[in-house]
């Protein structure tokens, strides 16, 4: 039995103080704001309702589309063997970890007004004599399609993993029994497979829905401000219209919704573990023509969908296309490093007070501070959680709470609570730490829990001081986990967009903020620089993801 020892109090002191000051205090300020009489006017409520409905609409649509792509993909990976299977599966998982600005820039490079497809098609048609042409030829940025596509791009991996796991645990004999009883493929799916998958499908859909519901960067960058979801509306009200009370009200609605969905999700998870056979599905090579067509079609679709945007981005960042220099008809493609060298120059008409390269330095500074801070707070919390007592059972969900609040809400909380300090650049790493802390704790805790007490006792009985024991027993095991957690914090901070968009000072932009500003400016040079910065960010984040994958403890959970 664990009682509340002074050591535990000491472990919890820093993390809880931090959460109290930077999460709960701002949260209560938001509450206070939203319940004032001047906030709860009918026009405000009407706007909130409108925004809420649209948020639901786009999230439901995105979730359905994600299922449409994700389910067949899950089936593909669960049933068939083919060349490059693990590579393709890894490819579908990469976007989930990428910053929203990178994904938005990738889709922009492919389908945007200055993207490969639009410029290529325009050039082709002009060359064959068809003009005048609308510009852009295929409208993408600023449409609902763009938002939906990016959401599917992000979340397909969730369906592939959750539904795919359930599918591969399904006893293949159930399908065979149904077939021998006269069920054709559609009826096997409808009467046997789907009912058995229902809990997992529900869990996957909820999780996808949750991400789509709280999505911010994708909607702002690909849809624009006219697609006012809760997140975007909070941003607009707080930053552009300076209507903090309404922003607070929207934040509250957002928090309540996420909380409800999260509770539903955890409940589904506990239910979805039953009803699966222990025998695992055997994968096989596609045999019949129908199977071969299915495998070929989906391999092609998935590789195109997951590779092209991420390929278009770096290529576009080193390619000069004619639209950069006015409207000459001939498409002049050529290699260029201009977009990268421009990053170091502070032009007179620059949208920044500093050269864009400074944004990268800021980002690195913020990320380092975030790593330091989240490790300092995460290590004691994780070591307390590794041997949970009564208080830990209560404190565990509290630590994860910031994860449920959207980044924009966190940013708004800071504005509401620390308005006077907003000129201070160090608020940004504090917000980043709030976002990163749950991940850091979740990474450290299993490693810490895996160290048996007997090892420390053995070390002590052999004459090691507590510090020596920690150094020789705990540290070697912890080192991997710490590095992994640090990388997590670093990449999260590098790519963080929601909170930063609300908090960053114009003179201290981060990489994602710089990309956002470049993308919202006219001109080929600005566009090119956005591509260049997004490519850099993508490279850094991918390196981070690869490092985390390498350090991952075997058997660690997925979501």
């Amino acid at each position: 039995m664990n009682s509340i020892s002074p050591r535990r109090v000491l472990l919890w002191l820093a993390p809880l103080t931090f959460l109290g000051v930077f999460f709960f205090y701002p949260f209560f300020r938001i509450l206070a704001f939203s319940f004032s009489l001047e906030t709860l006017t009918s026009s405000n409520l009407q706007l909130a309702l409108h925004v809420l409905l649209f948020t639901f609409y786009q999230a439901i649509l995105s979730t359905l589309l994600t299922l449409l792509i994700g389910l067949p993909s899950a089936y593909l990976f669960a049933h068939f063997d083919f060349h490059g299977k693990s590579l393709l599966r890894a490819l579908t998982a990469v976007p989930f970890m990428l910053p929203t600005v990178v994904v938005a820039a990738g889709f922009n490079a492919l389908l945007g007004p200055r993207g490969w497809i639009n410029l290529g098609l325009t050039n082709l048609l002009t060359w064959s004599g068809i003009s005048p042409l609308p510009s852009p030829l295929i409208p993408f940025v600023g449409t609902l399609t763009a938002i939906l596509l990016a959401h599917v791009f992000y979340n397909t991996t969730i369906v592939v993993r959750i539904a795919g796991n359930a599918l591969s645990r399904l006893d293949p004999k159930l399908e065979q029994a149904a077939r021998s009883l006269g069920a054709d493929s559609p009826r096997v799916w409808w009467n046997v497979i789907l009912p058995l998958l229902r809990p997992s499908l529900f869990a996957a859909s909820l999780l996808v829905f949750l991400f789509d519901f709280t999505s911010f960067g994708v909607i702002l960058l690909l849809g624009g401000t006219r697609f006012a979801t809760l997140e975007v509306a909070i941003y607009i009200q707080a930053l552009q219209l300076l209507n903090l009370p309404l922003a607070a009200l929207l934040s509250l609605i957002q928090l309540l919704c996420t909380l409800a969905f999260s509770i539903l999700y955890t409940r589904t998870l506990t239910r979805s573990t039953v009803q699966t056979a222990p025998r695992s599905q055997v994968t096989h090579k596609a045999g019949t023509i129908r199977e071969k067509t299915f495998v070929a079609f989906f391999c092609l679709l998935l590789s195109a969908f997951f590779v092209l945007p991420m390929l278009a981005l770096p290529l576009r960042s080193v390619s000069r296309l004619d639209a950069d220099r006015g409207d000459r008809a001939q498409l002049q493609t050529g290699f260029t490093t201009d977009y990268y060298t421009e990053l170091f120059i502070n032009r007179n008409n620059s949208i920044f007070y500093v050269p864009p390269f400074q944004a990268a330095l800021n980002s690195l500074g913020y990320a380092s501070a975030t790593v330091l801070l989240s490790l300092l707070l995460g290590l004691p919390a994780a070591s307390a959680l590794a041997k949970p007592g009564r208080i830990e059972k209560i404190l565990d969900p509290i630590l994860i709470l910031p994860l449920g609040a959207s980044a924009v809400t966190l940013g708004l909380g800071f504005i509401v609570a620390f308005g006077r300090l907003l000129t201070q650049p160090w608020l940004v790493p504090l917000a980043h730490t709030l976002v990163a802390l749950p991940f850091v704790i979740r990474t450290l805790q299993p490693a810490l829990a895996s160290i048996p007490d007997r090892l420390r006792q053995a070390a002590a009985s052999l004459g090691a001081s507590p510090f020596r024991a920690w150094q020789t027993v705990d540290w070697p095991i912890l080192r991997r986990a710490t590095l992994s957690a640090a990388t997590f914090a670093f990449t999260i901070s590098l790519g963080e967009f929601g909170a930063t968009a609300l908090l960053a000072r114009p003179e201290y932009p981060t990489i994602p903020i710089a990309i956002y500003r470049f993308l919202s400016q006219p001109g080929g040079l600005n566009y090119g620089q956005a591509m260049a910065m997004a490519t850099l960010l993508m490279a850094l984040t991918t390196a981070g993801i690869l490092l985390i994958e390498k350090l991952r403890l075997p058997g660690a959970g997925e979501f």
């Binding site: 065979q176 029994a177 077939r179 021998s180 009883l181 006269g182």
Partner: protein, 332 residues
């Protein structure tokens, strides 16, 4: 009526089935008997249409089934681990095939009741299949396969997961049901007692081929190969060499007189079967000392120091000298 012609199948680069041909006639229960991994389940799955043969054809009433998908074959399949649908209750599991055939609700209800009656599960309709015992689950699996009146029933080691007493009960019931419905059936097992108990005809599968076919009595009386005699546990299989005289075989246990009915050349290696039951009228005698004596309710299983075993009525002492007159058969 089902006919298989020259079925070949490779498995992981090795030949699994090498030219299997047989027929199942109306009202007949054919038992495929073979060791695990001999390809008998694969054969069933190919008949069901769940797998395709590399070569050879499967016919029903003279019609090639190659292009008939499993759900159009009308063959019932019962698995060892039942493969009941965990999300459906007993009634809905049993009704599954009927729903697939688009029967009306009242037709389904009366047929399900009828079949559940047949397998002694009346009153179980609303029970969850996950709450049933192994034996009850297997009855539901029978009922489910039986309900749509398939033109052929296939059983893939259906009693393998059950304990002995339950197995005997279920086997008797199943034999009764098959007899009553006259549905032709293929029964796959590795247990020869089960096979002999239920089969009209037994097919012994070994090394990808059918090495012996016949009714249980014929197969028991004349296994025709050392492997079959050993697999069926018919007695002591002894290797030996034919000596000058065509009827004498020299073995490690003595020289035996063997009347095979066919001729052997002198010096040829042959296998003999010494049944474990003493035959007082035979001339061949096996001698040895009792090394192990096991009481088996109505007899004693006595293993001699030379490794041969016999069933004796009296109880010898361990170490006692024993002479047994035995019938020696030639296994070719």
């Amino acid at each position: 009526m089902l006919e298989l012609r020259d079925i070949y199948k490779m498995y992981e680069g090795q030949p699994l089935l090498r030219g299997i041909s047989f027929r199942v006639d109306v009202g007949e229960t054919v038992c495929l008997l073979g060791a695990s991994g001999s390809g008998k389940s694969t054969l069933l799955r190919m008949i069901a249409g769940l797998e395709l043969p590399d070569a050879g054809q499967i016919f029903w009433d003279g019609i090639n089934l190659a292009s008939t998908p499993p759900h159009r074959r009308d063959f019932g399949l019962v698995f060892q681990d039942y493969a009941l649908f965990p999300h459906l209750n007993v009634f809905d599991n049993t009704a599954f095939g009927l729903k697939m055939k688009n029967w009306t609700r009242s037709q389904i209800t009366s047929r399900v009741h009828e079949v559940l009656e047949l397998v002694n599960l009346r009153g179980f309709e609303t029970r969850q299949v996950t709450d049933l015992s192994g034996g009850e689950q297997q009855r539901v699996a029978f009922a489910r396969a039986l309900a749509p009146r398939p033109r052929l029933l296939m059983f893939d080691e259906p009693l393998g997961a059950l304990d002995r007493a339950l197995r005997e009960d279920l086997l008797n019931e199943l034999r009764g049901i098959l007899h009553q419905t006259r549905i032709p059936a293929i029964y796959v097992t590795h247990d020869q007692e089960e096979a002999f108990a239920i089969a009209d005809r037994v097919l012994l599968l070994h090394d990808g081929q059918i090495v012996r076919a016949g009714n249980p009595k014929e197969v028991w009386a004349d296994p025709k190969s050392a492997w079959a005699a050993e697999f069926l546990g018919l007695g002591n299989v002894i290797g030996g060499k034919v000596v000058n005289s065509e009827w004498k075989v020299k073995t490690g246990f003595g020289v035996f007189d063997v009347n095979c009915g066919h001729k052997h050349r002198a010096g040829e290696e042959v296998h003999l079967l010494a049944r474990p039951f003493p035959a007082p009228n035979e001339a061949n005698i096996v001698r040895g000392r009792a090394a192990d004596v096991i009481f088996q309710s109505d007899r004693f299983k006595v293993t001699l120091d030379n490794g041969l075993y016999f069933y004796l009525d009296g109880e010898p002492k361990v170490g006692e000298k024993i002479e047994v007159k035995v019938k020696i058969e030639c296994l070719g």
